[in-house]
Symmetry: C2
Subunit: 451 residues, 2 copies
């Protein structure tokens, strides 16, 4: 049964006050499925559904919603229920939702939380959204290094009622500094009287609270971790980042790179239509204005060819071909370079080798396409020389495009700039200009024989 | 200490036959760190390093290497050591490596394995690489539904010595069909005499063995699972897919989309230089040839403007501007559409709304850029009419580009074609042509007043 059908039945049950029946139907679905459906309902219809669930499950549903919608739903649900749900949620998820709220809304939700929890969430709100601190949760299991295995198990039972979510137990010293890690299984099979520090692993990978989330994700992916501890500059344990949040980061960062490559940015699909259009226009204009300026520069180059075009108007026929091909080769190369740098397949240090390979690829595609164009232009315009001018220009342009499309992202990376700013608009505009310069040069040299 | 320094020390120890010393230095590093360093060494230098490690750790290092290199290293290491390492590796990882080998190499490795393991790996090799079957592992923990909790724990102890990797215990019936799931913790706190079928969860999400890996990854990400069971058409349990493999799939699929958008494909950086160049040329040529044909079509349109250009040569100055701007707006729109469809933010069903929004954005950027170009062209060429012809053409072109760039991926998706084939080369070439048609139309209407 799809949730859509189920929803009709649930609504009828609610209307008839048959809450247990409604609950039974709802119980057949996973929180993620419920979230996927209710996010398309009006806010005031979501509350009654969540009211049927336990606070824990309701919290899981809310956690799957867009942070802004989640805030609206919580604000709509009444203090008692909201308080109960928030109590069951992880601090990082609560902080994500509060981050989208106005200060009075935020304070109202915080006032519903226990004092200690509220302080934790307030602290999380201080970290930048895209750092380790911004995605970590403060619900982790840590034990002191100088207690016994027996005592440790007792501490874990008390502090972590949901023991199946405990993959790693982190070990701290009395200054709260991370000093080791141990698995639950190792703890259970250890002699009860052994001290933790004698059986723990001393090598424990951690990330600094200010580390960029992209680096954190890369590390978790590299080591196949299920969670990684977060420490501050003094090695004090601050929280943990779990693999499900890392998956979200990987999606987010891939999207960011893709949009940046196209010279645009993500639009928040939850926004109102007019706001979305305005944001989209604002995101796209900068690169479009660069292209526009480039277009006038290109026009200036063609103007330098004025006499030649008036004599041999056919020279103008090949302008879109030249700029189009150059732009495409350049975009292909810059895309491969930017993604290769992001995934670590291209090493920014080996610049000469990488750019050299790109040049060889440019020569390959340039020779093939240049030859085809020479023949086609000759057949069309019955002038071998015109064909050669166009074909050679195209070939040189494609080699330049392939080389530059690879070179620019590598240089940006080396200077610490995000290589994805070498976007398609930037690369193709630059290459339009160099391509036309080559074409104008060759044309003006050969014009006397072209007439 | 970086691994590079450590490697010098380790090599000196190996040369001096001080293997225990070498082992101690190596022991400070995680398998992933060792893998990252050794993948740049010649194959015959990797074996001696792995020989210092336990077969289990050596297996983890090999698992982090590129599958092709991993095969070369294993082939180079001698039968006994290779057999010991392979024994410790998961069947899916072994299958990945064997998938890159020639048949005789493959058979040699399989002959070193236990018969049962070899059969499992052979079976895995039958599945397509990018399906659930291609990424699943056969090392999972399953128990029968009609045994007691006590007996179940005993079975798990026997079959899963590494109990910390057991997050979920799957429950099957006597036909090996997946019927439930239970957590290790639930099993431990249950009454020892209870039957599993009375305490297990009956709702268990699974994927079919032929499901595309992208769908599997989306499902694991959606439900925040650490692993998902794989079943065949009869609901028979075949294996599990763990979250670390899902992360690899997410990276892979994002890269694939990015490359396809640029009209190219990934190049295997492990290949020899000439092979890499040849593959790159082959990947890129198809879309370049499409662009090339488009370029001749565009040339044909300009040829239709021959008379007008000979009279007002300035008309040719604005060709790169028009095609460049149209291409960029189109690429931006198609990128947003393709990624939005991939992440589920755009619903292919709401075509009218999505395309309508794109048209409005096109009107926004089109009006702004059209106005700027009208003014600039007027100032440059001292002809308001020419400015208006260029400006209006640009505006209409940008609206078309934004609409088409969004429309094409949505249509492709609806017809079940990967929307990412609406690549930058395809979109920008199509838009070059429509843009020039608009320009040619307006120019030929207004030419009598332009002279």
């Amino acid at each position: 049964m799809h949730f859509e059908e189920a929803y009709q039945i649930i609504r009828d049950h609610i209307a008839a006050q048959e809450l247990d029946e409604a609950r039974k139907v709802l119980g057949e679905f996973q929180p993620a499925d419920i979230a996927e459906f209710v996010e398309n309902l009006p806010v005031h219809e979501i509350g009654p559904i969540l009211n049927l669930l336990s606070p824990e499950t309701a919290g899981e549903v809310i956690n799957q919603l867009d942070a802004e919608l989640a805030g609206d739903v919580l604000s709509d649900m009444g203090e008692e229920k909201t308080g109960a749900i928030i109590d069951e949620m992880y601090s990082d998820d609560v902080a994500d939702i509060l981050g989208e709220m106005t200060d009075p809304e935020k304070d109202k939700i915080l006032s519903l939380m226990g004092q200690e929890d509220a302080i934790e969430v307030r602290e999380l709100l201080e970290f930048k959204e895209d750092t380790a601190g911004g995605i970590m949760t403060t619900e982790y299991v840590a034990i002191l290094q100088n207690i016994t295995a027996e005592r440790a198990i007792q501490v874990i039972r008390e502090t972590a009622p949901d023991a199946e979510t405990v993959y790693y137990v982190y070990v701290i010293n009395d200054k709260n500094q991370l000093v080791g890690v141990i698995s639950l299984r190792e703890l259970i099979i250890a002699n009860p009287k052994t001290l933790i520090e004698d059986i723990m692993h001393h090598k424990v990978k951690s990330v600094n609270v200010h580390m960029d989330q992209e680096e954190v994700a890369a590390m978790v992916a590299k080591y196949d971790f299920l969670a990684i501890p977060v420490v501050d500059d003094d090695q004090s344990l601050m929280g943990i980042i779990t693999v499900d949040d890392v998956i979200d980061v990987i999606h987010e960062e891939a999207s960011e790179d893709i949009y940046r490559l196209a010279g645009t940015a993500e639009v928040d699909f939850e926004d109102a239509l007019w706001k979305r259009i305005w944001m989209a226009v604002r995101n796209r204009l900068p690169w479009l204005l660069v292209t526009l300026l480039g277009g006038f520069l290109a026009g200036g180059i063609i103007r330098g060819l004025e006499k030649e075009i008036q004599t041999v108007v056919a020279l103008s026929y090949f302008i879109p071909l030249l700029t189009g091909m150059g732009g495409n080769v350049g975009t292909q190369s810059s895309t491969l370079a930017v993604r290769g740098l992001a995934t670590g397949q291209i090493d920014a240090g080996k610049m000469l080798k990488t750019v050299g390979t790109a040049a060889l690829i440019g020569i390959g595609v340039g020779l093939i396409c240049g030859l085809i164009v020479t023949v086609m232009a000759f057949l069309w315009q019955k002038s071998l020389l015109l064909g050669l001018v166009v074909g050679i220009s195209l070939c040189v342009n494609m080699i330049t495009a392939s080389t530059m499309g690879t070179f620019v992202p590598l240089v940006l990376k080396r200077f610490g700039v995000d290589p994805a700013v070498a976007s398609a608009p930037f690369i193709s505009t630059t290459i339009d200009i160099t391509g036309l310069l080559i074409y104008a040069g060759l044309s003006s040299v050969f014009i006397k024989w072209l007439v």
